[in-house]
């Protein structure tokens, strides 16, 4: 009889309404458990406990152990970190601590789930930590952001300092390392950091049509950041969430850099560099534009090199005479190399991206304070001054605020 009762309970839980499921998606948790774990830990976690761990006995206060064991494997149990999606791991944890949805979530779980975006309401504050504005900045962000023994440097660092100031909040920076891997693009890192509530705001968001929408409902890995919990392996992925962006505070543009004054030309379009030995930054928009908008002779004689700080250094050494690069890359090169023969022409390619501050949509009320501050700083010249101080060649934002998706025409049309 007991067994029958147990069986019918299981059945109820399987098809029926979950009892304590308000805090998480029990149906999904159950399915995830069944798909990944049931063949060793038993359906509904019921197993004799003789060769696989009895998960009904897993200590509810040992979340880290759970994450570590499941991510990395333990004893006879295989590792799951590279195959489980982050929300799945989270759901499995909740499934296990609620004993399969039969008990309520422990208090601390319900209050601060790692990816709960509603925390703002609970604290009555727009930021994760009341009284503090947390910003994510790249340690390796060139002239825009870099870490110092105390605080940081760069235009983005200066901007978030000013914003926190204006809002009457303390500033806390979460420094992350932008990974240079193929799959992780900076934009996905940004989405992941925000979705995981690592910080409230992130400057440096290039306003490009796709970037504003394309990543919602997909997942991305978190980059490394200073306070990243140990149990989140590199495989860990975050469910991305919609974001909101501020008014633009600066503009990222591409310009022509040449070596020594003797290679200077009157440049109104890329094709005007003809006659010079041209460098092409491989795999970047600037590189593509050079190839598509340059003359065929120019392109035939050009030298292709990997992107990154080495690119301009190659030019410094004489590998080529001129190239189209982002102005920020030039600024960074100049900053790193006091003695340099490179100069930036006044020409700017018409394709450019306005930079803004990004945040989760659920925090968009922060914009009530951020937008006026940014606009005032541009209007009264403070932004330009901060840029100059940080050795950034400043361009103010240009209409349209958001660069629409590039078309073939944009890329082919000589400009």
């Amino acid at each position: 009889m007991l067994i029958r009762l147990a069986a019918s309970l299981c059945f109820l839980a399987l098809f029926g309404a979950p009892v304590f499921a308000e805090d998480f998606d029990l149906t999904k948790a159950k399915r995830t458990y069944k798909d990944f774990c049931s063949h060793c830990h038993g359906i509904d976690m019921v197993n004799p406990g003789t060769s696989s761990y009895d998960l009904r006995k897993f200590p509810a206060d040992q979340k880290d152990r759970f994450y570590t064991s499941v991510n990395k494997g333990r004893g006879d149990m295989p590792a799951w970190g590279d195959i489980l999606l982050p929300d799945e791991l989270d759901l499995l944890w909740k499934y296990v601590v609620t004993r399969g949805g039969k008990e309520p979530l422990p208090k601390e779980e319900a209050a601060v789930p790692a990816t709960d975006t509603d925390q703002t309401q609970q604290h009555g504050s727009l930021t994760t930590k009341p009284g503090t504005l947390t910003a994510c900045l790249a340690k390796n962000g060139g002239v825009m952001s870099s870490r110092r023994a105390k605080g940081g440097a760069g235009l983005d660092y200066a901007l978030v300092t000013a914003l926190a100031d204006q809002m009457g909040l303390a500033l806390e920076v979460e420094w992350f390392e932008s990974e240079q891997e193929e799959e992780s693009t900076p934009i996905r890192e940004l989405y992941a950091l925000l979705a995981y509530n690592v910080c409230d705001v992130m400057p440096g968001f290039a306003l490009y049509e796709t970037s504003l929408s394309a990543f919602y409902k997909t997942r991305a890995a978190l980059p490394r950041y200073d306070n990243k919990p140990a149990h989140l392996g590199p495989e860990f992925q975050v469910d991305l969430e919609p974001i909101s962006v501020s008014d633009p505070y600066a503009r990222m543009e591409m310009g022509v850099v040449y070596r020594t004054p003797e290679f200077e030309r009157e440049i109104t379009q890329i094709a005007d560099m003809e006659g010079l030995k041209i460098g092409v930054e491989q795999g970047t928009l600037a590189g593509v534009l050079t190839l598509r908008q340059g003359t065929s002779k120019m392109v035939a004689d050009s030298i292709t090199a990997n992107p990154g700080p080495d690119f301009l250094w190659k030019m410094e050494q004489g590998a080529f005479d001129a190239a189209l690069v982002t102005v920020g890359a030039y600024d960074f090169h100049k900053k790193q190399n006091f003695v340099s023969t490179l100069a930036l022409d006044e020409y700017r390619h018409p394709i450019g991206f306005n930079l803004s501050v990004a945040m989760l949509k659920s925090r968009r009320d922060l914009l009530d304070q951020i937008d006026p501050t940014i606009n005032a700083m541009i209007a009264d010249g403070r932004m330009a001054a901060l840029a100059k101080k940080n050795k950034v060649t400043f361009s103010s934002p240009k209409e349209p605020w958001v660069q629409s998706n590039l078309t073939m025409e944009d890329i082919l049309l000589r400009r």
Binding site: F11, L14, D35, S38, I43, V46, P48, T50, M77, P78
Partner: protein, 559 residues
């Protein structure tokens, strides 16, 4: 492609021939394999003979003296997984496999001669649905052949245990694994694949036993345009993840030079998404061993929604002068087919409760579906019998040709609550496409049955609280051996079903008993070690008091 295979085969045959003729001490010739049943001092083929009858002519241990059966030795496999290995025996040496080792033992003393350890990536067990097990080996020409969990086929030197060759069949990460004991037929090493619940596309493969070179691969799910593809009417790519695994060893008829192999269920379980019969899933295949070409097929569960594999062992017999194969199918019916052409001769129901079909139409060979089956296919919630465990699970039955009786460990009145849902495919993750829960009976869940294969008439039955998942062994000593998941190794009177003897081996038995003779003395061997499909999936907490841990147990009469 075909041309190539044939050319390679020509080459191979001469090499094999050369080895066999060299007459090394350990050489097992094709003739020895064929005549396995006639020499009780060796066990050279999975199932005790190519026909897998698991019946021995030995009668030194018999219904009169079995009470004096006692352990001769036990050998620890040092492993806590479920043990399903079929022991092989040649020249006084016994060969047993686990998921991570192969051992050679002195058959009389149980002393280890060698142990060969197998390593596989730690992630592999993710894709083993129903237990980290291995079911045994094939031996031939001085070599032992086996498969690995991460889907490799390997050959070991029988004398030293050293690896002679290793061939990767496929990438395990996509959900494929191997637990099957391979077999040798017409000089070709043939193996199947597991992974039916992971959205694989099943196949059988033939290898050159000498070099490990793959000679052929026959998919059990045809690609568009191939014969049988017309039975996948979804018009999409369901076939790519169509299932049809081949995880239990096939039989071989040397006279007809035909290999018989059962295939598993179609994937996902959501049959509504793959309209059509879905050949060759849940099908009995007759194949040409040298090329893998399909000679004929008989499908037991067309468009199956219930996980009714047709992988169960195919027992060869001669009944009423006809060469037949018999299968106690998961779906609850006992199939008897003419093995020369696949014609259905009989299909009695061999368990009490079946509600998905009223029977098998002998004229068309097709099941007569009930509302339960049609509703299941259209996504309605149903309770079906027998459950996904089947009327009988993988554990092999025995057939006594003298009394024309089959001895089967069946599941008793176990059903399943079921509802098809949209499956989500991710490589290496369960691809069920259904929500399910067990519907347990109030009383016993298992029954050992002695039945007449043509009629299904039950001669006797012995029910048990927990279903038995061990193989069955029949002997001319009027005995039937099997084991319980709670550890008892048991002997029954084959005529009456009377329980005559039992011995607690200390861990559950889900292995395969065998019997053999050495120097005029009969021995009975079984591998114990609780675990595998029922222990993992049933959540039956009565098993909590049965510790894991595999041993090879060998018994003989006390003198």
């Amino acid at each position: 492609m075909k041309y190539n295979c044939i050319k390679r085969l020509g080459l191979t045959a001469t090499i094999i021939f050369g080895v066999a003729n060299a007459g090394a001490v350990y050489a097992q010739t094709a003739d020895e394999l064929k005549n396995d049943t006639s020499d009780p001092s060796s066990i050279l083929t999975y199932g005790m003979g190519y026909g897998q009858q698991r019946h021995s002519s030995l009668d030194m241990v018999n219904a009169d003296n079995v009470g004096k059966l006692a352990p001769a030795w036990a050998y620890s496999l040092a492993d806590t997984r479920g043990q399903e290995s079929f022991p092989m025996l040649y020249d006084g040496v016994m060969y047993v496999t686990t998921h991570n080792s192969t051992v050679a033992l002195d058959a009389v003393t149980g002393r280890q001669i060698w142990k060969s350890v197998i390593e596989y990536p730690a992630e592999t067990p993710r894709v083993a649905c129903c237990g980290i097990v291995n079911r045994g080996s094939a031996i031939y020409g001085g070599r032992l052949f086996r498969t690995t969990l991460d889907a490799h086929v390997i050959a070991l030197d029988m004398e030293t245990g050293e690896e002679v060759w290793r061939t990767k069949s496929i990438d395990y990460k996509a959900g494929y694994s191997m637990t099957v004991a391979p077999t040798i037929a017409d000089g070709v090493l043939i193996t199947g694949i597991s992974g039916g619940e992971y959205g694989i596309r099943g196949y059988l493969e033939g290898y050159d036993p000498d070099t490990g070179e793959r000679l052929w691969r026959t998919y059990t799910v045809p690609a568009p345009g191939e014969p049988g593809s017309e039975t996948w009417k979804d018009g999409g790519d369901a076939w790519q993840r169509g299932g049809g695994p081949t995880w239990l060893t096939g039989s071989y008829d040397p006279e007809l030079n035909t290999v018989y192999w059962g295939t598993g269920n179609a994937a996902s379980w959501n049959a509504g998404l793959r309209p059509g019969d879905n050949l060759y899933t849940s099908t009995i295949l007759a194949l040409e061993p040298k090329t893998g070409a399909i000679k004929w097929h008989y499908q037991t569960s067309p468009n199956d929604p219930f996980d009714y594999d047709a992988t169960n062992e195919l027992v060869l017999a001669t009944i009423d002068g006809r060469k037949v194969i018999m299968q106690a199918n998961r779906n609850g019916f006992f199939y008897v087919l003419d093995r020369t052409n696949g014609e259905l001769l009989a299909a009695p129901q061999f368990i009490d409760k079946v509600n998905w079909a009223t029977g098998i139409d002998l004229a068309t060979g097709r099941p007569m579906d009930t509302e339960v089956a049609t509703k299941a296919r259209t996504g309605e919630q149903v309770t079906y019998y027998p459950s996904a465990f089947g009327g009988k699970n993988w554990s092999p039955m025995a057939y006594n040709p003298d009394s024309n009786t089959v001895f089967i460990n069946t599941f008793k009145d176990v059903g399943m609550q079921y509802k098809a849902v949209e499956p989500q495919y991710r490589p290496g993750v369960f691809y069920f496409g259904a929500e399910f829960a067990w519907a347990w009976p109030e009383g016993d869940r298992g029954e050992l049955r002695a039945i007449d294969p043509m009629t299904g008439d039950v001669k006797w039955a012995d029910s048990s609280a927990l279903p038995r998942l061990a193989g069955v062994l029949s002997t001319a000593g009027n005995l039937v051996f099997t084991g319980g998941q709670t550890g008892e190794f048991e002997a029954f009177n084959a005529e009456t079903g009377e329980a005559l003897w039992s011995f607690n081996t200390g861990s559950g038995i889900v292995g395969q008993p065998v019997t053999w003779e050495k120097d005029g003395k009969q021995y009975v061997t079984v591998v114990n070690g609780a675990g595998a499909v029922y222990a993992l999936f049933s959540g039956d907490e009565r098993l909590a008091t049965v510790p894991p841990g595999g041993n090879v147990w060998t018994f003989a009469l006390v003198e």
